[in-house]
């Protein structure tokens, strides 16, 4: 690890100013992903801006028809939130399926989606629920947020302050855990809203994506049968030593059916 400057702002504005002033600085949430890259000398930011001291970035609350989760809220806090369990049980369950207890007590929703790991769980939840990512500068619809492998719509230095989830009629998240890392080999989030059904998939492609054919079918008829005939194309899916693209395609459809059946 190289030497770096360390800053612990207590206000979002201060953090933003620090980030703006120095393009070689890095925002740090729980450091779960960031610190190992420093230790392995894969990254050497000049400064770390630790967001842990900013109280405004933490917590889960209800705001009308939405649930607002602060960017620095840990997966464990999300999982255990009574407000969330009441409003969006499927999302609370998703947070509880991330990694292991140590990861869940340190990793944050902001860090997870800013990082946009193709196998992370939250992207499916954020996309599936049609959430809005709120930053210090603007609001970004989930559909416009995940651009590709580890790539998001965030500009350098832009700080995610929270994520707003519209409260759905019902939702669930089903995951096949990676045998080594515990991340999603495939994760499927199915969300029923008043206007239709959304299906988001993580782990299978370079970044989370929606399954339009399934959404259409399930909006018409929310049943296992209605998606039984929908083939998932393996062409653009990830193919690695842990799971072939064909297997991933198959798992997407198995998990989607199980998700529907669990309603």
């Amino acid at each position: 690890m190289e030497n770096f400057g360390y800053h612990a702002p207590t206000k979002i504005a201060d953090a933003a100013q620090l980030a703006e002033a120095n393009e070689d600085a890095k925002l740090m949430a729980g450091g779960m992903t960031l610190l190992p890259t420093l230790k392995q000398r894969l990254a050497a930011p000049s400064d770390l801006i630790d967001l842990a001291g900013i109280a405004d970035l933490r917590g889960v609350c209800r705001d009308g028809d939405e649930i607002v989760i602060g960017a620095m809220t840990t997966h464990a806090e999300v999982h255990e939130s009574a407000v969330l369990r009441e409003a969006i049980a499927g999302l609370a369950s998703l947070a509880g399926q991330i990694g292991d207890p140590a990861v869940r007590h340190r990793g944050t929703i902001g860090g997870s989606i800013a990082n946009a790991d193709p196998a992370a769980d939250y992207p499916a939840g954020v996309l599936g629920h049609g959430a809005t990512i709120v930053t210090n500068k603007r609001k970004i619809a989930a559909d416009d947020f995940f651009l590709g492998l580890f790539e998001t719509a965030l500009e350098p230095g832009e700080i995610i302050t929270g994520v707003r989830f519209p409260i759905p009629v019902w939702s669930t998240y089903q995951k096949l855990r990676h045998p080594a890392s515990g991340y999603a080999v495939v994760g499927v989030c199915i969300v029923q809203t008043k206007t239709g059904v959304r299906v988001a998939v993580t782990g299978a492609g370079p970044s989370a994506f929606r399954m339009a054919a399934m959404e259409e079918a399930l909006t018409k008829d929310f049943s296992v049968k209605s998606i039984e005939g929908i083939a998932v194309a393996a062409d653009d899916l990830n193919n690695d030593i842990h799971a072939s693209a064909a297997y991933r395609a198959h798992v997407v459809s198995v998990l989607a059916k199980r998700a529907v059946a669990s309603r």
Binding site: R41, L176, A180, Y183, S244, H250
Partner: protein, 779 residues
């Protein structure tokens, strides 16, 4: 026997210390004026080193020194040890590639160290190490076992002209063919015994200092007893007398066989401490564990079995290719031959046995001993073959085994390879395990699982695994004037719980209270001269017996002192439970210990002190034979290919059990490692010889949730070849688990006609196998 005596489930003494952070590991040790070493490792699997430019490194901040292989060689440092010798049937010797401590001229695997950079701080050393410029000329690489053995493969050692180190055979194949020809039934298997990365919890580490005045080296490092490392470093690296090298390993976070070796990094750190005149510390990280700790297993086997009309085995033939990596490590080719190969027939009565082994060299990390060291591979192979034999004969999996196991009345049983199995109740193991697993009621459970869409399967595996390691060991017991005992040992506990078990033994042998016994280990200076260390499940059977005999000497001497105190003849004195008696008078061992240190209380001709050692030497061809039967039950979610272990029964015969609590721990750990190999642990090298699974993000270490609660039972048959009646316990779990697990999964998937799946049985592999089977059926 008292509450803390032999055979009691005594809680481990060491746990409070270890669990409250009071352990002393190598990384906790710092010497004054210490520098930090960082290794520059090859990023290439196979390449010529054209040049190494260290000028920028030497100029970097804080750098003390940079050393290359030539520097060590010029100073008289030799090459690493390959401690095996084999000849083929024609009498030709095995090829023995030489390995320098730092690669010279050529690198042969990713992670091979080529230089050490030493600086004032670790951060400086790491930064400076990045400035070393090595000009490599890439050569074609050999990443896989099968490829290494094929004739199309590039040859790694031109001077040998082949990647095959030797074609070893136990006898002429034709001799067995005659028997095979008489077989009514034939069964065969083709197996992959997957390579695993052992991954002890503590990565490797070393800190060494050189005392120029005394000409002595002191080095801390995680080992399994430093004696062999002391000897190797002294002889090969420093060219000094062994007693001028002191190796300390106070607490060690796991050994599994791979911590007992002289690694290049140990030699380089020791040598650099002398060369620079300053202490040198190296702290390996997890990535270095993956690319430089010796790996385990990695075999490809083909085996054939011939059976008569009654299902009795008439002949067995086995062909093994073992991937030894880029060099033959200390034990490399020993594992598939003497380690495991000769016990392949296992618990079965097989007279006609042919086996052939081809140890191959490839551009991968060398393989060496890992929990079981050849025996898990052998047992797995035999048990997969017995399942195939059940299929071929139409007998059930347990019946085919019952018809072939060695019966108790055949003991001592001399195997065709000349090993003598002294004891064991192989039929009883199966009965006990099958009963505990409710094997008879399985079909009902299978039907129940089917109702909720799961395929259920059950499997069993027998095993026997010669244990004992090296044939000599020395133990020492010293009593203090206040009657407390200290055990000085060269055996080494790095998880085994010797602090507890040795104390139990002394409480039983000498009546010294459990809490008054302490252990001094992990220091070549205090370890008895004739001690060897802990590996191959040998500590109880060599060290335990050594302690028993040392204790006997304590009692003998104590008897003389007690007689003097009681003013009687030694012959009139008896000893029991810590008390010397003569008629109605008695003295305690505590009083005797006090007298032993008081010249006035000593009888004439008796030296002061109560301090005795015993050097135990056994016939090197004599082993003990831990054995057992494991039963595993699984549920398979066939749509996802996901397996869940729903029940696991381990019946083990470890001989006389000194502490059931501790032996259970050994069984659980061994089973977890066996299940890990079978279910999650996948070591992948790509075509270029890059290790793809180089971190825990890709390498599937087994987790608690992969396991079921294990029901560990003992079918205790005392070992006949040692005073304590003990057999090894450390490696059994890893021997039993893979076979039982794979058998269970294949049983679950039998409706698809699946008879084998190569380990590890990851979800995508299981799913793919089902798809292939379905396609084959449809075609």
């Amino acid at each position: 026997m008292g509450q803390f005596g032999i055979g009691q489930p005594v809680r481990r003494k060491e746990d409070v210390r270890l669990l409250t952070g009071k352990g002393l590991y190598t990384d906790d040790v710092h010497f004054d004026g210490q520098t930090w070493g960082v290794f520059v490792r090859s990023p290439q699997a196979h390449a010529k080193i054209l040049s190494i430019d260290t000028s920028a490194t030497k100029a970097a901040e804080g750098v003390v020194a940079v050393y290359l292989g030539q520097d060590l060689k010029a100073d008289g440092v030799g090459t690493l040890i390959t401690d095996v010798e084999f000849k083929d049937l024609s009498g030709k010797d095995m090829f023995r590639p030489k390995r320098d401590f730092l690669a010279i001229g050529r690198v042969r695997f990713v992670g091979e160290p080529v230089a050490i950079v030493i600086a004032e701080t670790q951060a400086q050393a790491k930064a400076a190490a990045e400035l070393v410029v090595v000009d490599y000329e890439t050569l074609p690489a050999v990443g896989s076992t099968a490829f290494a053995a094929s004739s199309d493969s590039p040859v790694i050692w031109e001077e040998h002209g082949s990647n095959v180190g030797i074609h070893w055979e136990n006898r002429a194949e034709a001799e067995i063919d005659a028997h095979m020809a008489k077989a009514k039934y034939r069964a065969s298997v083709d197996l992959v015994n997957n390579r695993v990365v052992p991954n002890p919890m503590e990565p490797r580490c070393a800190v060494a200092k050189w005392d120029a005045d005394a000409g002595e080296l002191t080095m801390y490092a995680p080992t399994q007893g430093g004696r062999r490392i002391q000897q190797g470093i002294a002889k090969i690296v420093l060219n000094i007398a062994a007693d001028k090298v002191r190796i300390l390993s106070p607490d060690v976070g796991g050994g599994f066989g791979i911590r007992g070796k002289i690694y290049p990094e140990l030699g380089v750190v020791a040598w650099a401490a002398r060369k620079t005149g300053r202490p040198v510390k190296w702290r390996g990280d997890r990535s270095e564990t993956f690319v430089s700790d010796y790996h385990g297993r990695d075999q490809i086997n083909h085996a054939e079995l011939g059976l008569d009309e009654n299902g009795k085995i008439v002949a067995l033939k086995v062909w093994t290719i073992v991937n030894c990596g880029a060099y033959f490590a200390e034990n490399g080719p020993r594992l598939p031959i003497n380690g495991g190969g000769r016990i392949i027939p296992g618990v079965y009565d097989i007279e006609n046995f042919y086996f052939s082994v081809r140890p191959v060299l490839s551009n991968t990390v060398p393989t060496d001993t890992y929990r079981g060291a050849g025996r898990p591979e052998a047992n797995f192979l035999m048990e997969r073959l017995m399942d195939a034999a059940a299929h071929a004969t139409g007998l059930s999996r347990d019946e085919i085994r019952r018809r072939n196991v060695i019966k108790q009345e055949q003991m001592p049983y001399r195997t065709q390879m000349g090993m003598v199995i002294d004891s064991g109740d192989f039929v009883g193991n199966m009965d006990m395990a099958m009963k505990a697993a409710d094997w008879a009621g399985f079909e009902k459970r299978r039907a129940e699982s089917a109702k909720h869409g799961k395929l259920r399967g059950i499997g069993l595996s027998n095993f026997v695994e010669p244990s004992g390691g090296r044939p000599t060991e020395e133990m020492r017991i010293a009593l203090t004037p206040d009657g407390k005992a200290t055990v000085y040992a060269g055996t080494h506990s790095h998880g085994q719980g010797h602090e507890t078990v040795w104390a139990q033994l002394l409480e039983s042998f000498l009546g010294i209270p459990f809490e008054d016994v302490s252990l001094v280990q992990g220091d070549t200076k205090t370890a008895p001269k004739g001690s060897a260390g802990t590996f191959g499940s040998r500590s109880s059977w060599m060290g335990g017996v050594g302690l028993q005999r040392s204790a006997k000497r304590i009692v003998e001497k104590g008897t003389k002192i007690a007689a003097n105190l009681m003013q009687t003849e030694p012959s009139a004195v008896t000893f029991d439970a810590g008390v010397f008696r003569a008629g109605t008078t008695s003295v305690t061992i505590k009083e005797v210990a006090k007298a032993a240190h008081d010249p006035k209380a000593l009888p004439e001709g008796v030296e002061a002190g109560l301090d005795e050692s015993y050097f135990l030497e056994r016939d090197p061809e004599e082993f003990n034979y831990p054995n057992g039967t494991h039963v595993c039950e699984v549920e398979v979610d066939a749509d996802l290919g996901k397996i869940e272990i729903v029940n696991y029964i381990a019946v083990d015969d470890c001989g006389f059990v000194l502490n059931p609590f501790i032996v259970h721990g050994q069984v659980y750990g061994g089973v977890a490692q066996g299940v890990g190999q079978a279910m999650t642990e996948q070591t992948v090298y790509d075509e270029d010889g890059q290790l793809v699974t180089g971190s825990f993000m890709d390498y599937g270490m087994p987790r608690a949730h992969h396991m079921a609660m294990i029901d560990a039972l003992f079918n205790e048959v005392r070992c006949k070849t040692n005073d304590l009646g003990v057999k090894g316990a450390g490696e059994a779990g890893a021997c039993g688990a893979p076979g039982a697990f794979v058998s269970a999964v294949c049983d679950a998937l039998k409706e698809f006609g699946i008879r084998n799946i190569d380990m590890p049985l990851t979800p995508d592999r299981v799913w793919q196998t089902i798809q292939n089977a379905k396609a084959a059926k449809a075609a």
